[in-house]
Amino acid sequence: MDDLISEVIGKKILALGNEAIARGALEGRVDVVTAYPGTPSTEIGDTFARIAQKVGVYFEWSVNEKVALEVAIGAAMSGLRCMTFMKQVGLNVAADALMTYCYIGHRGAHVIVSADDPSCHSSQNEQDNRLFARFANLPMLEPSSPNEAKEMTRYALDISEELEQPVMLRTTTRICHTRGVLELNKIDIREEHRKTEFIKEKYRFTKIPALAWEAHTRVLDVMDQARRISEKCPFTTTEEINGIDESHTDAHDRSDASRDASASSKIQDGFFTDESADSGEKIGIITSGVSYGHLKEALESLKINARVMKIGMTNPLPDASIANFLKSCNKVIMVEEVEPYLEEQVKIIAKDNDLTIPILGKADGHFPRIFEYSIDIVRRGIISALGLEMETKSDNALNVGEMELPRRPPTLCPGCPHRASFYVSRKINKDHGIYSSDIGCYSLGLLPPLRAADVWVCMGASSGLACGFSESTDQPILAFVGDSTFFHSGLSGLINAVHHNHRFVYVILDNSTTAMTGHQPHPGIPRNSFDEIAPAVDIKKIVEALGITFIEEVNPLDLEKTEEVFRRAMDHQSVSVIIAKEPCTLLKLREMKARGQRVVPYNVDLNECKKCMKCINTLACPAFYIRNEDIRINPSMCSGCGVCAQICSFDAISQEGEAVL
């Protein structure tokens, strides 16, 4: 039995932050869930793909984030309870719908999850979508733990219903990908997902320009109402943290005892002595999200007393509560990741209340504006803000001297068909070609020796960028796009290329899946989010319909044929399309295993190998290794794609190893 759909109230389970959000949506009686996969949000959908049908919820992996949002908007306008989730940059894609949606609202409930990625663990930027919430007039909650993520998702649906306004749940990677203990509340298990009737109401959802100002007035009223909710939000808390209180120290801390002792004596030499506590030095700290956990432990280890306000609803802010908090402190430190979102607003609140206490944070350089936070970073920030003279623990960190460790960058899997496509592209165009890339596993084509990614910006951009290169240079141009990304947003750039007669080769790397995020389906394959048969949209037919005069489908693992196709495409006088079609190796291996088939690995004949290094220097399949100058293939890593054998000039590589599973 899947714990996430357990009906045992009060049961404690261990769950990932993303699973907690899924459970919270169930506890909030969600009807419709939509998304496009994107790290760090994807597991919310992997969870729904597994459970939605068992609990009577409609779920889909939509074609992109904008459509995902729109599907849920339709359902919310019909009166259903909805959730849409996406990674932070996904909200950029959905923004057009979002901005006006916030003007007009809905009749059901709708939580929009934005999973931000400070430190860019798996993203091209670390944008702080809290600014989006403000921009769009979108009420927002920020969880500080997995259990809170669950509770807030439920709460977000409720206030969304009350306000008839979408509500954002803004999480970050370290909430999404942390497992914590959840305490379960009630869920309703239904046979099938709920349906309702869309009720017509004149001009309710059709804001013609003459009425749009009315909608603007509406959203401002909604935000006033939301501010009242924010003042009472149960997730906003104020507490005294007594770092000086020794009672928390226990046996286990002994190993750290010597270090702790030296730290605390230094504090006493510095700013925060007992006298200053007596003289009424009251330090306030305002925080939100995952920083709250870091902060609590930082204060504890620094042995500092402070009053901490954790804000759960961060748009709109509870102005009055914040003003009261500020009045109770002599100085305030702001602890929040990325943008000074709270800091700037708190400064305005202070000004409006004629408060002149110092508000210390990013503006004066105590806290960084880049990267995610940790206990260490928060500790350093507090030390800096309070002007303490002490070393941080991490400065004491072990002195292990210089170490030269080999890096371990991620790379395309052994046998990945993208490697073959990139190999051929480079063989023909070398450094002269411009390689316009996109977002997916194939972004890894960046790495040497393939170096087949000069630019990538955002989902679907490779075709649009290639249009620009085609007008700005006479170099050969190749644009790469994955199948899922093509459907997401690659098509418009290609249409543009046809109409304006831009010239480049558009290579659709069709591996029949959304590989990077863990193999979710997309409209091009005949399976839906639940792995049921579904109508597939044919990429080739779409491209043909655009009137493109060069369209070839080729299996990239056949190098000779692929090279021939690429050469003809490069010579073509207008935009040309190559569909490099071969399933993702991981999928292929999984299917082989399911059928009980075995891979027969390739093998280097050491007698024939002339050690020319061509395979290593041009293909660099990670199944290769060098031992005592000999070039070998690790049979347990080789997927049997055969590309290396086609490259070898001396026929030294062949498929004659023993079959391995």
Binding site: S145, T178, G180, K393, T411
Partner: protein, 201 residues
Amino acid sequence: MKINIYLAGIGGQGILTAAQVLGRVAVDNGVNVLVNETHGMAQRGGVVTCNVRYGDVFSPLIPEGEADVLTAFEPVEALRSIKIANENTYFIVNTARIYPFTVSLGQEKYPPMEYLMEKIKKISRRVVFLDASELAREAGNEICTNMVLVGGIFALGVLPFDKDQFITTLERVLPPKIFKVNLEAFLNGNKFVRDEMAPKE
């Protein structure tokens, strides 16, 4: 109480599973826990790290220098994560090496084993090196390398649960088909580390 277990290795080594079971045993025994995982790029041969934190913890990440146990699924990864350790940290290090492709392709050098062992021993006296992959093979399947290392952690006596509590959890979470071999691997690792630690402590 705060107990910090750090796991470091490479995608595909079963680190996330190890971390999950280490988390689950806490829930089964009423102990608070936070388990942070690396997802994303990790699948493509990149580094994977997990933070398992028990007790009065609020941050999902172990501060620098505060790991009670550093479990390295691969020797170089022990050194790469060294900042998380202090001189009292227990090190459990799998000696089975996995070369990054940059090394197998001759673009970078993999440090000699002796160098790696030296460096680690210089930091802490509480170090156990073991060929976890071999111990897993002996148990029946190399895939269970992760359970060998978890078994090792349970031999250190730093966790607020004992071996039997863990086995109960393991039986609960694993399908019966693979429970046996995982248990075997766990016991192999547990015995090996216990024997290693015995004379020194």
